[in-house]
């Protein structure tokens, strides 16, 4: 099991890489409006980077309904900690 805290920790690293800003601290309420560099291109980069680094895959519908960072973390957590189907 990966904890919410660990996800935030790794997400922070990814934010720093994608937005090229070491001072960003992702918080649950944060949205694209809060980060100047978070434009549509960087949004795609961010999602693809999260998929690559966490080794997960988002559904298109999940991405369309993303509200904020907290919601994104919930999604990651759900995917990482879901019991194997079988």
């Amino acid at each position: 099991m990966i904890s919410t805290e660990q996800i935030y920790q790794r997400l922070t690293e990814i934010f720093h890489e994608i937005f090229d800003d070491q001072s960003i601290v992702p918080t649950p309420e944060m949205t694209a409006d809060d980060v100047p560099e978070w434009d549509s291109l960087n949004h795609i980069n961010l999602i693809v980077a999260i998929e690559a680094r966490f080794k997960i895959k988002f559904k298109s519908t999940e991405l369309e309904s993303l509200r904020n960072v907290g919601h994104l973390v919930e999604l990651i957590e759900k995917k990482l900690n879901a019991p194997p189907r079988g």
Binding site: S40, I44, V48, K57, A82, G86
Partner: protein
């Protein structure tokens, strides 16, 4: 993609998810990459750019590539940074879908080769207008190179689409570009993104978009050749990596990116190598190490019958396959050279007499086998072939040699060969060092000229700073007495080592055990570690205290892998210390010549021993211990074996 990608199935997801950590598998890894990027940012612009170019030459992924590009773009407007580059190119990128994410990959792919690229991206989906309208941004930009990146949906996934229509569209673009821009044109092949409709015999269904793409790509190439246009073969790359790596349908729907951002590093490197080739910057010569590179094993120790090359063993076949690839490069006009730590006669014998060798002496334009450091030898090879060291690619299985050359001659390309020789050819092919635009008669001719010039010159004075390099290795020599766990390896080394072996005295397992039980015997095994890892047990010493309190060294052997690293001097300090503790007043050593151990004739002299005389071919040497002063060596000696 190349090498290290592994697909893993996540049971909670619908699809295969691929680990895309490293695509550029021929480049070395740098664990401190992020830290070095931060340091480089703080430098003044010209120095920063040089650092960024170095950082581009590590195995970075698409995220790091984008990040590095952003750092580079921040200093892009400073005057005076361009002269530090090998050249600069104005590249226009025109297409029919989202391409912005690829620009970082292109710029870094070019920077990796010392090229600065200014990119102009046409407004989304307006490539025809851009080409037609003389007042467009494209015309104002005046590109040196135009890259046409048309997506498959745009070309063939419409009602009434045909190969003919798509081709005429593409040819019209070429014509417009030639008329008004007079630049070099690169046409990207069409990515086969579609699902089959018929199946294995898809080609029989002429309306299938997948069939149309296949046929379009087939027709495109001869037409491009006629028109003098270069092809960017993304179809071949996707066939190698898997189309699902390159294209994701969900992403296509979301953002109209036909090429997935996770391969932007691979895509950009393909463009970068093509731009370098257009500028005439390609590597000309593949320099090959011998032992464990061209064949398995060490010729000096294993002998002609003992090395692995050719049919009959898995290892032998892998090395043979690598030779075959080198031979194919040679037939195409790439020079082959040899740079090996070996006695020349031993090395040449393999080329002349081993029946399974594919590569023969006639294929090698410059043959250097000696015990000098490899950076000096590479300089020598470049001089003899009358090419720059920046034209050399150096293939060596040994990380020590690779890193020495990277440090001393950063302009030499040094692929990070995989541990398994079965991957050598794929690694070199993936790196695209020898990207060529044509096969010319000149290439074939060049080979003959170089071969005519095979006489050997003396090595000039080397300027390699070995001292600094050895210091940077942080070598640790762990020394301890023989022990039961190490016994098999000790016996093996004693019986196998031919070259760095003073007496070539062989011991059986039982005899080594007798040494271990003898209180008047000194026995030592030494393991060398450095920042690249563990080299294993690399030195064995056996000595006995005689009645005159001399410690007589009866066996001293070392692995040739650690030659030139001052490990022998470090070993001597341990011998002297232990001998002193046993009550010895002097060390006595002898050299007994064999057909293979010429390299250690001066071993004792170099270590400060005095000659006592010759007897039956042996040369005897003495070192009084009261006179012994440990030499300053770049090796930390640690007592106790691990």
């Amino acid at each position: 993609m190349h090498g290290r990608v592994r697909a893993s199935y996540h049971p909670n997801h619908e699809e295969f998810v691929t680990d895309t950590i490293t695509h550029l598998g021929w480049l070395p890894q740098e664990p401190d990459w992020a830290m070095r990027l931060e340091q480089a940012r703080k430098l003044e612009p010209a120095a920063a750019l040089r650092s960024f170019a170095q950082l581009a030459n590590f195995g970075i992924d698409f995220i790091q590539t984008t990040r590095l590009d952003r750092a580079v773009q921040r200093i892009a407007t400073y005057p005076g940074i361009l002269p530090s580059m090998r050249g600069s190119i104005r590249l226009a990128l025109l297409g029919s879908c989202t391409l912005t994410h690829l620009i970082a990959g292109i710029r870094i792919g070019a920077l990796r080769r010392g090229l600065w690229v200014d990119v102009y991206e046409g407004p989304y989906g307006t490539y025809r207008q851009e080409l037609q309208d003389p007042s467009s941004g494209l015309h104002a930009f005046r590109p040196d190179v135009l890259l046409m990146s048309l997506d498959a949906h745009h070309l063939v996934d419409t009602e009434g689409a045909s190969v003919e229509l798509a081709l005429s569209n593409i040819r019209e673009c070429w014509k417009l570009a030639k008329q008004s821009l007079r630049c070099t044109i690169i046409q990207q092949a069409i990515l086969p993104v579609f699902r089959p409709i018929l199946g294995n015999n898809e080609h029989r269904y002429l309306r299938s978009p997948l069939t149309l793409v296949t046929k379009l790509n087939e027709s495109l190439r001869p037409l491009a050749d006629e028109e003098g246009i270069h092809v960017l073969a993304v179809d071949t790359a996707a066939a190698r990596d898997g189309i699902t790596q390159w294209h994701d349908e969900g992403l296509w729907h979301r953002s109209k990116q036909e090429i997935h951002p996770r391969v932007l590093d691979v895509y950009g490197d393909q463009v970068g190598r093509l731009l370098a080739a257009i500028r005439g910057q390609s590597y000309k010569c593949l320099v090959l190490d011998l032992d464990n590179t061209l064949w398995g094993g060490v010729i000096g120790d294993d002998g002609l019958a003992g090395i692995a090359v050719g049919q009959g063993s898995v290892l032998g076949e892998a090395h043979l396959a690598f030779q075959r690839y080198a031979l194919e490069l040679s037939r195409r006009g790439i020079l082959l050279a040899v740079c090996s730590k070996n006695d020349e006669a031993n090395a040449l014998e393999v080329f002349d007499r081993h029946p399974e060798m594919l590569l023969r002496r006639k294929h090698i334009s410059c043959f250097v086998a000696n015990w000098e450091d490899k950076a000096s030898n590479l300089r020598q090879i470049a001089r003899r072939l009358n090419i720059g060291t920046d034209s050399l690619v150096f293939a060596d299985d040994n990380p020590f040699e690779r890193n020495l050359v990277r440090q001393e001659l950063p302009e030499v390309a040094v692929p990070e060969l995989p541990e398994d020789p079965a991957g050598f050819a794929a690694c070199i092919a993936a790196a695209g060092y020898f990207e060529g635009l044509n096969i010319t008669n000149e290439d074939q001719e060049r080979l003959n000229q170089y071969r005519a010039n095979t006489e050997r010159e003396l090595l000039r004075d080397s300027t390699t700073d070995m001292g600094a390099y050895l210091q940077s290795l942080r070598m640790e020599l762990h020394c301890g007495p023989f022990d039961p766990i190490g016994l098999p390896r000790i016996v093996q080394l004693i019986n196998k080592t031919n070259q760095y072996n003073l007496m070539t005295r062989r011991y059986t397992d039982a005899e080594v055990q007798a040494v271990m039980a003898d209180p008047s015997a000194l026995h030592l095994q030494c393991r060398l570690q450095d920042r690249f890892g563990d080299n294993g047990v690399i030195a064995i010493v056996i000595g006995r205290l005689d009645a005159e309190r001399n410690l007589v060294i009866d066996t001293w052997l070392m692995s040739c892998r650690v030659l030139g690293r001052q490990v022998e001097a470090a070993t001597l300090t341990v011998i002297a210390k232990r001998a002193g503790a046993m009550g010895a007043s002097a060390l006595i050593g002898s050299f007994r010549p064999s057909p293979k151990n010429e390299m250690v004739r001066d071993h004792y002299q170099k270590l400060g021993f005095d000659e006592l005389g010759k007897k039956d071919g042996d040369t005897k040497w003495i070192l009084p211990l009261d006179r012994f002063r440990a030499a300053a060596v770049p090796v930390t000696v640690l007592e106790g074996f691990i």
